[in-house]
Every structure is written in structure tokens, then in C-alpha cells.
Amino acid sequence: MYLFFFCLVSDSIASEPNAPEISDVSLTINGGHLFLSFRLINGMPGKMEELVKSGVPVRYIFNVTIKKKGLLWDDELKSMELRRTIRFDNLRNRYFLHFDYPSTKLISIEKLKRAKKFLFNVQDLKLISMKRLEKGEKYTIEIKARSEKGESSLPFSRLVKMFTSFGFSSKTYEFEFTL
């Protein structure tokens, strides 16, 4: 019985060959602050693109944490969460992107490719003041991306949700640096 159910579940969440991942990570120092840039690749795996085009809003959440390496444990210096939502308006035939960081803004884009570029590229994210960082110390930056399907107007949406998950959670991208 258990295997039967698990087969049902596992069928609907079958693995994808191109899993989402964080890439092109770079750090820059400007004006006494550390800036982070990165990109999410394969941000719409499988039928997620179809899901977006069907009008379901999809939320992308980027979690960024900077930690100072310690002997026994790391000290978390700063942690931030970026939320970006994409929604396609089938009548207007445009993608509406909503950003909540660093400021709230809404933009509409006609082409998906361009919308993806806006959605998945995080450019010059003001991470932390350089004053908080010490020379010679080791620091770790962890970046993780995940997505969530917004509410659907379907009558069986809750039932369907039990057997499908269009969201994903990328592997945590982690790297160390020393000033």
C-alpha cells in the first residue's frame, strides 16, 4: 500500500535532468560595501514555464547568508531574503514581475526570455558594510534559491497540490573568501 502511494507521488515529482542551480557568483567592493552578484540557471525546470503561461503566479525566493568562520561554529553576520514573483497576463499577453528588494517595483515585459533575465539575475546586491569584515578572517557566503507555486483558481487545486509540486529548492551554493 505504501509503495503504491509512493509510486503515485514519485511519478508526479519525477526528477529533471537540468536542476536549478546558482551560478556566476561574484563579489565586488564599492563605496565601503560588499556587493554580490549571481544568477539562477534553469530557473523554470520541466513544465514550470507552462505553469507560468497558464497564469499561475510563481514566486522565487533567494536566501543569502554571510557567515564568519569560527572554530566550532560559524557566526551569522547577515541574512537576507529576496522575493521575486512572475505572473503572466494572458489577456494583455505580458509578464508582470514583482520585486520586493531593495525596493518594491512592478514591471511588465512582453517576452519570457527577458522576463527570465530580470527574474534570475541578481546584480550588485548590497551585502554588508566592509567595516564589519576583518582582514585575514574567513567568511562564507551561502546562496539558495527556491520557488513556490502561487494559489491557483482551480477547483481541485488543493487536491492536485498533494500530488504535484512545481516548486523547487536548489542546492545551497556556498563559497569562502578571505579579505
Binding site: 502511494f5 507521488v9 497558464s54 499561475v56 527556491r146 492536485v160
Partner: protein
């Protein structure tokens, strides 16, 4: 087992079950999570619901299936163990399961087919095409509205640029703009055309984003905010106008914002124009959009939707099946349990446990049956109590009767008189011990026999007539003396015949009461003879000596006076007188001894020297074979009198019986314990009819015998509280048995 223990056990089982379920939830969750993570990384929290729901469903089915399987196995074992009610329970379970299973399975397959068909209809290509066309129309309409708005904006922009005065700093004359949209004073065809445009909102802003002129033509006055400066800053000629909308209560205001350019001066400001799309149009467009989007989502979720629906259907079916089985088992149990309880209770009541009561639950027929059973048990208990009480009373009465009967029997057994009861036909119904002893009968062999078969004697015919005489006389009792022959011995009895009557004076039979007077008569005779003997001895003894002396003197004095025959006669006569006087003396002495029998001086003595002495005295006359057993005890006796007993018996054997051989044996008899001395001779014996008279005084068949020897023997033995008996010896002679009771008179 009491209910408290059962309750505790049940609680314990529930706790174990809860713990197992909790452990299973954790295990399943871990396994699922690990497997899902392994397949594809997923956000943690979004799957919690999935895991929870699946686990709950799984566990519900597992618990239910466990309970069902457990009950089915239990039922199987009950069936194998031939437990009471198991067969009925099985039949009921199968019947209920079949009744629920068949329609459920049928419904499942029909629903499955129906679902497949419905899903196929949902995603029909015609529907998809229709929806795409509908959304296409909607898009076109929207685009047409936007395009028209852009044109309007363009026309207005050109008119403003050409007609209105622009300040050196790029400021636009607001009066001029007002004139364009103002009263119909201007007859310019371009202005007239603008006034006819389907516009609902116009806003002119300077290059800094400040509102110069604004006007609305909306059915309800609403505050429309112009675009923010950031938005205005992002506008460019290449990008085209900024299209956005505002939702109003009367519909949707479609807005287009673009730069206001002057042919010579360049950008002098911004213009925003708006057009209201009515609520009905907006609603229809939204409906088309929603329908299209939901259809696309449904297509996307087709597979999981199908899976989820089928899974739900399957789960519900399984749930129905398990619930129906469970319900069937419960229902069967609820029916068979009271039956089983009743059977068990019947068994217990059959074993006598009338205190047993069944618990009743509910108000159905079975509960009524249980209540009726309890009532029956109560009645039975009451009836048993009454029966036991009656039995106790009867037992008490019976015991009293038995006691009384035993007492009466004891009385009857201990009375010296013989008592015999006869039924109306003359058959013996009861006979007491004394009667058996007197008549020498065995009680068990005479009960039920006719009394006339048992009694013989000279007065038998008169005895036979006595009951008739009794019934005819009208008296209740008749008493008479009889002599009857018992085992060759004549006995003198005084017999009383009484009629046995019940409370209603009905004759039930005859009661015969008799006393053995033989011994009494013998004692009376003995006493009489002793008196006679004493008087004879007294009267005769005195003259005998003078007679003898006189005869001797006559002989001595006158013997010389006679000669010849006279002398002979004289001598013979005097001799005869002397001799006969001597004989008479002896006779008188015997009489005297008999009459003056002294009381024995009882001392503890051994019989062996007495027997030895007797043997020595008589060894010249007869052959005596004497022996005494080793365990023969010392006896309390008067040795001289016992010696007289032996002498008298042996004298009798030698002189009367002409015996040649005598055997003396002294031994101990057991039960009753008695010391016995037997003296057997081989003489001529005695006739059977005289055997009862040998101990009577003056009874003698011996010529010249006084008949007192054995009478004296009897007197001595009686004085020693012993008994003497004479029997015929075989082939000839007699045997005397002398018995001393060792239990009554221990030595």
C-alpha cells in the same frame, strides 16, 4: 476476569497502538522525505502537507486493515476452535461483506470509467480551440483599445504642440489646453474631432511631472492619480507609451502615458489619456481569461489530477470496503455475542450457577431475550430456593421420622418379647430380634412369608385359628399360651394377637407379641422341685436313721432266733431294710444337696487342674481325651462346683449313656468371645424329643437315676452366668457345650 482488568488491558492496547502509529508516521515521513530529496530537491515546507495527508491516509488504512485482518484471523481461529457462535458470526460476516463489497466494487469500476470519460471530454481539442479563439478575441479587443488610445494620445499631443504656447522653460499654457477640451467656441475640425473622441480621462504634466491640466468624464467622480515620476522617467520614444490600468467601480480605466514632444523644443511634458472599459466588457474579458488560464492549468495538471482523483476514488473504495468489513464484523459480533453469552449462561445455569446474570445493552430483541433469560434465571433461583426449603423441611421431617423409626426399631429390638407384624393376608412385614432368637429365625428370610409356614407345634391348629377368632370376637386383642416346637425344642410361649388399626380404624394387619416362658417355667419348676426336695429331705431324712438302726438291731438281736428259711428271709429283709434305707439316705442327701445349692465362691482359677483331676478319677472307667488350648484364660469360678459339673456329666455319660470314650476340649471362641468347654461321649445318646428336658429335675431315663445330676449342672452353670447346651453327637452320644462369656465377665 473483572471489567476493571479488561478496561486496563484495553487502555494499554490503545497506548501501544498510538505509539506504533506515531513511530510509523515518523518512519514514513523520513523515508518519503529522503526519497523525494534523492529524486529532486524540493522546498521543505511545501511538502509537509503532502506527507501529512499521505501518512494519515496510509495509517488510517493500515490501522483499519490491521483491525479487519486481526478480526478475520480471530474469526478463523474461533471457527477452527468450534467456539459457540463462530459459525453464525462467520456466516453473518460473509453475508454483510458480500452485500457491501459487490456494490462497492461495481461502483468503483463505474466511477473509474466515468472519470476517464469525463477527463477525456474535458481536454477535448474542440474545447481547447474554442478557448484559444476566445482569448485571441479578447487580446485583439484589448489591443484595439490600446491602439486607439495611443492614436488619441498622439492626436492630442500634436494639437497641443501646434496650438499652445510654450514658455521659454518649456511650460505649457494651461488655458490653451482647456480651450481644446473646452466649450465649442472653436470651429476647427481637428478640435471637433478631439472632442468626439471616446475619452474619459486626460492629464497633461510638465516635464517635471507636475500636473498642468487634467479632466475626467467618468460616471462617478473618482480621484485618478497621474503616473509617478519614476515611471515617467523610464519612458522613451523607443519603448512607446506606458500602458496601465486602474480598476474602478464602474469598470477598468485603461491608461496610456507618453512624452509630449514639440517639433522644435523636444520633450515639453507628458500626456496621459484614459478610456473606461465598462464593467460588462471587463467581466467578460476576465471570464475569458480565467477560463483559458484554468483550462491551461487543467491540461498541465491533467496527469496528477487524474492520479489524485483515481487515488481518492481508490482510497474511498478501500475505506468503504474496510469499513464495511469492520461494520460487518461488529454487527456479526453484536448479534452473535448475546447468543454466545446466552449459550454460555445456559451452560452455567445447567451447572447450577443461578446467581449468574447477563448484562443488557440497548433495547433490541436480543436485549429483550437477555432480559427474559435473566428473569427466567431469577425465577429458577426462586423456585430452587423454595424447593430447597421444602427439601430441607422434608429432610428434617424425614430425619425425625427416621429417628423415631430407629427409636421404635431400637425399642422393638431391645424388648425381650418377640414382636411380629402381619399384613391382612398373614404375611410377615416386620420381625424383631427377640422374635428371631426365640423362634430361631433369620429376619431377612422370613419377611414376606406367611407366619403359618414358620410355626409348628402341638397347638399349631389353634394358633392358626386365632386371627380368625380375633376378627370374629370383635376384641382388639387375644392372649393365649402355646407350646411350639422350635428346632426340635419345645418352647412355651404366651402369644398376644392384636389388630393393627390406623387413625381411621382401618385394619392394617395383626401384631403378634409373644414371650418365651420356657426358662421361666424351668426356673419355677426348679424352685418348686427344690422346695419339694427340701421338704422330702427334711421329712424323710430324720426317720431314716432310726429305721436303719432298728433294722440293724433287729438283725443283730433276732438273727439267732430263726433257722432255715426263716433265717434266710429274716436276714434278707433286714438287709433290704438297711440297704434301702441307705439308698433312701443317699437319695435324701441328693435332694438335700439339690435343695441347698450354695452360692458359688468365685475366684480366679485355672480349669486345667480340674480337668486333669477328673481325667485321673475316671481313667479306670472310660477313655478320656482331654486338651486345653494355650489361650484358654483363667476364669472366675468356684472350682469345687465346676468339678461337680464335670463329675455329674461324666457320671451321666458312664452310667446312663454307657460311653466308652470321652473327649474334653477347652478353647476360646471369637465373636462373641467366649470360653468354651465341650464334653463329647460315644454313648447311646438321647432321643431328640427328650433333649430339652435333660436339665429338668427328676428327668431321667436311667434306671435308679434321681434326675438331679444334670439339673445341678445347669444350676451351677447358671450361677456362674454361663450357659450349657446339649447336642446329639455323631454317630452316637451327646456333646455338652459349657460357655462363659469373656466380654461380659472378663477375667
Amino acid at each position: 476476569m473483572n471489567s476493571n482488568l479488561l478496561y486496563k488491558e484495553k487502555k494499554k492496547r490503545e497506548r501501544i497502538l498510538a505509539a506504533v502509529i506515531a513511530i510509523l508516521v515518523v518512519i514514513f515521513s523520513i523515508i518519503e522525505y529522503k526519497l523525494v530529496i534523492f529524486i529532486r530537491p524540493l522546498p521543505k515546507y511545501s511538502n509537509v502537507l503532502i506527507f501529512a495527508v499521505i501518512n494519515i491516509n496510509l495509517l488510517l488504512i493500515l490501522v483499519l486493515s490491521f483491525l479487519v485482518i486481526r478480526n478475520l484471523i480471530k474469526l478463523l481461529f474461533e471457527e477452527k476452535g468450534r467456539l459457540l457462535g463462530a459459525k453464525l458470526k462467520t456466516k453473518l460476516t460473509i453475508a454483510f461483506v458480500m452485500v457491501s463489497l459487490l456494490p462497492t466494487i461495481l461502483l468503483f469500476f463505474i466511477s473509474f470509467q466515468f472519470l476517464q470519460t469525463s477527463l477525456a471530454y474535458w481536454f477535448d481539442i474542440k474545447i481547447e480551440r474554442s478557448l484559444e479563439q476566445a482569448i485571441s478575441i479578447g487580446r485583439n479587443y484589448y489591443k484595439a483599445q490600446v491602439d486607439e488610445l495611443k492614436n488619441v494620445e498622439d492626436v492630442i499631443s500634436r494639437q497641443i504642440a501646434s496650438r499652445c504656447k510654450i514658455g521659454p522653460t518649456g511650460g505649457i499654457d494651461g488655458q490653451c489646453i482647456g480651450d481644446i477640451f473646452g466649450p465649442a467656441s472653436m470651429t476647427d475640425p481637428a478640435i471637433t474631432c478631439i472632442r468626439k473622441l471616446p475619452l474619459h480621462y486626460v492629464c497633461i504634466l510638465d516635464s517635471y511631472g507636475n500636473v498642468i491640466w487634467t479632466k475626467t468624464w467618468l460616471p462617478i467622480t473618482q480621484d485618478i492619480q497621474p503616473p509617478k515620476r519614476e515611471k515617467l522617467a523610464s519612458l522613451s520614444k523607443e519603448k512607446g507609451p506606458l500602458i496601465f490600468s486602474r480598476d474602478l467601480s464602474s469598470g477598468m480605466l485603461l491608461l496610456a502615458t507618453s512624452s509630449l514632444n514639440h517639433p522644435n523644443l523636444g520633450k515639453i511634458g507628458y500626456i496621459t489619456v484614459g478610456r473606461l472599459l465598462g464593467q460588462d466588457i471587463v467581466g467578460r474579458l476576465d471570464a475569458v481569461k480565467k477560463g483559458f488560464e484554468e483550462y491551461k492549468q487543467l491540461r498541465l495538471f491533467q496527469s496528477p489530477l487524474k492520479t489524485s482523483l483515481l487515488s481518492t476514488l481508490f482510497l474511498i473504495t478501500m475505506l468503504i470496503i474496510f469499513v464495511s468489513i469492520w461494520f460487518a464484523l461488529r454487527l456479526a459480533k453484536s448479534i452473535t455475542e448475546p447468543v454466545s453469552m446466552l449459550a454460555d449462561a445456559t451452560h452455567r445455569i445447567a451447572q447450577g450457577d443461578l446467581n449468574f446474570r447477563l448484562e443488557t445493552k440497548g433495547r433490541d430483541e436480543l436485549s429483550g431475550l437477555v432480559q427474559a433469560f435473566n428473569t427466567m434465571t431469577k425465577d429458577l433461583k426462586e423456585a430452587r430456593r423454595k424447593a430447597e426449603e421444602a427439601s430441607r423441611r422434608l429432610l428434617k421431617s424425614y430425619s425425625e421420622l427416621e429417628h423415631r423409626k430407629a427409636y421404635i426399631e431400637m425399642l422393638l429390638e431391645n424388648v425381650t418379647a418377640g414382636v411380629i407384624s402381619l399384613d391382612p393376608t398373614g404375611r410377615i412385614t416386620t420381625i424383631n430380634r427377640s422374635a428371631c432368637q426365640i423362634l430361631k429365625l433369620d429376619a431377612s428370610s422370613v419377611i414376606g412369608k406367611d407366619y403359618r409356614e414358620l410355626i409348628q407345634g402341638e397347638d399349631f391348629s389353634e394358633l392358626e385359628r386365632l386371627p380368625q377368632e380375633l376378627s370374629m370376637s370383635g376384641k382388639d386383642r387375644v392372649k393365649k399360651s402355646f407350646r411350639i416346637d422350635v428346632g426340635g425344642v419345645s418352647k412355651s410361649l404366651i402369644i398376644s394377637f392384636s389388630l393393627l388399626k390406623d387413625n381411621k380404624d382401618r385394619t392394617l394387619g395383626i401384631l403378634i407379641v409373644f414371650d418365651d416362658l420356657t426358662e421361666l417355667e424351668r426356673i419355677q419348676r426348679l424352685a418348686a422341685w427344690r422346695e419339694v426336695a427340701r421338704r422330702i429331705a427334711h421329712e424323710i431324712k430324720n426317720p431314716l436313721t432310726p429305721i436303719q438302726l432298728s433294722a440293724q438291731r433287729l438283725k443283730r438281736k433276732f438273727l439267732n432266733h430263726f433257722q432255715g428259711d426263716d433265717l434266710e428271709i429274716f436276714e434278707r429283709c433286714t438287709e433290704t431294710i438297711v440297704k434301702q434305707t441307705e439308698e433312701l439316705k443317699k437319695l435324701v442327701n441328693e435332694f438335700s444337696r439339690f435343695a441347698r445349692m450354695p452360692a458359688p465362691e468365685l475366684k480366679r482359677a485355672d480349669i486345667r487342674p480340674i480337668i486333669d483331676e477328673i481325667t485321673e478319677i475316671y481313667k479306670s472307667l472310660i477313655n478320656i481325651d482331654a486338651s486345653v488350648s494355650e489361650n484358654f484364660p483363667m476364669l472366675l469360678m468356684d472350682s469345687q462346683q465346676i468339678k461337680r459339673v464335670f463329675i455329674n456329666i461324666l457320671d451321666n455319660s458312664v452310667s446312663a449313656g454307657l460311653a466308652k470314650n470321652v473327649i474334653i476340649r477347652a478353647y476360646v471362641e471369637e465373636s462373641p468371645r467366649r470360653a468354651v468347654v465341650s464334653i463329647a461321649d460315644d454313648g447311646k445318646g438321647i432321643s431328640p424329643k427328650d433333649i430339652s428336658k435333660v436339665f429338668d429335675p427328676y428327668f431321667s431315663r436311667k434306671k435308679g437315676g434321681t434326675g438331679l445330676g444334670l439339673a445341678i449342672v445347669k444350676s451351677i452353670i447358671d450361677a456362674h452366668e454361663g450357659s450349657i447346651e446339649i447336642k446329639l453327637n455323631k454317630p452316637t452320644g451327646v456333646i455338652f457345650y459349657i460357655r462363659f462369656d469373656l466380654e461380659r465377665n472378663p477375667v
